[in-house]
Symmetry: C2
Subunit: 222 residues, 2 copies
């Protein structure tokens, strides 16, 4: 795989969003394993690390993956869940702020672009996990269904205030995730064009996407 | 992998777009191999068929893959090239028709959605091939660079006629391909929501995407 220009990404994987309650006892080990897996996936452009690699990075015994999660697949699922619940809680905060619908949509689109910077391995990983029926249903329950509901509420509010036209909330979700994701799946296209997928380009793309979406959502004038 | 609802796709893989000149001699075998590979990738949701499977379907001797292409990787590359040149020639036709920029963009977006119906395996396949440096450069030369140039010309014409605002043509390409592709990579989301990814849904999504894009491209009013 092509090396990504170093400026593309934050210097390090950073720390995972914390769990809802402060970990104690076995949960401390659980956290170490999640953080180690996040770092390795980040550093290796999504290539799945072995249990041995994960445990070495986490500095815990190899048996701990089974003990804490039941197995590697469940550890990976828990990592997807962690990232997803972080995104869900940020969406909820946008609602709690009581922002005007256009501002809430702009922030949501921007957050979607940057989610791919923070968790560059996430789409590929959740796609692999969706192959298992149970994980697919989990993703639907933890992310797709509540996010479609969030968009529906936002669109309804915007339509009522005369700032949005009515669109299908599931299609809007697809459009936004698809647009935001593509910059990262097309990184070789960016590089072939002679540009660098650096912070400035990501920011320009985020602004482009917000602009296209918000204008695209304006009420019908014809 | 989840079974795709039968109505999702055309009943059969259909025939590949023909080469520029009528095949003769060894080129007939070449065509049979390309068509067989297309059919198998289509039928198996993108899973790569073996050389033996391809030759059995094409009804040619196994040595023919090496003889005609040099190897399976080159056969797959030639298939990507064929689909890409078909798309490029359709783009060219849109220019030749001399349509108003908005109509040309609408047709291009619609064609992009339906390209994923005709070649459901294409993104994954070209992504795998891009891992090889040479194939990445080929994709840039045969698709990315000319398509960005096409969008630049279209945007310039639209800006001049006062129907588009200026946007980065590479970003517009990313937005369009990303939006069009996502419906198909998120097919499990569609199914989890209880909907079927059938012809009617693809058509509704195409209309949604054209609408969002064309409105998003309107000249700035603020």
């Amino acid at each position: 795989m092509r090396a990504v220009t170093p400026r593309t990404r934050p210097r390090s994987a950073g720390t995972l969003p914390p769990p809802e309650t402060t970990p104690k006892g076995a949960d401390v080990t659980r956290e170490k394993l999640l953080q180690a897996t996040h770092e390795l996936l980040f550093e290796r452009s999504g290539e799945e690390p072995s249990v041995a690699d994960i445990c070495e990075r986490a500095d815990v015994r190899v048996a701990m993956v089974s003990y804490c999660f039941g197995g590697k697949a469940q550890l990976l699922e828990a990592l997807v869940d962690r990232a997803m619940s972080q995104m869900m809680s940020e969406q909820q905060q946008l609602i709690d702020l009581g922002l005007p619908p256009e501002e809430a949509l702009a922030r949501q689109v921007r957050a979607s672009v940057y989610a791919f910077v923070r968790f560059p391995y996430m789409s590929e990983l959740s796609e692999r996990l969706v192959v298992g029926e149970r994980a697919g249903t989990r993703l639907a329950e933890t992310f797709v269904t509540p996010t479609v509901a969030w968009y529906r509420e936002l669109i309804d509010a915007g339509v009522e205030q005369g700032v949005f036209r009515p669109v299908d909330p599931m299609f809007l979700l697809f459009s936004i995730v698809g647009m935001c994701e593509f910059l990262f799946s097309a990184k070789s296209w960016v590089q072939d064009s002679g540009a660098a997928l650096d912070d400035a380009l990501v920011e320009r793309f985020a602004a482009h996407t917000v602009d296209l979406l918000l204008r695209g959502m304006r009420p019908a004038t014809d």
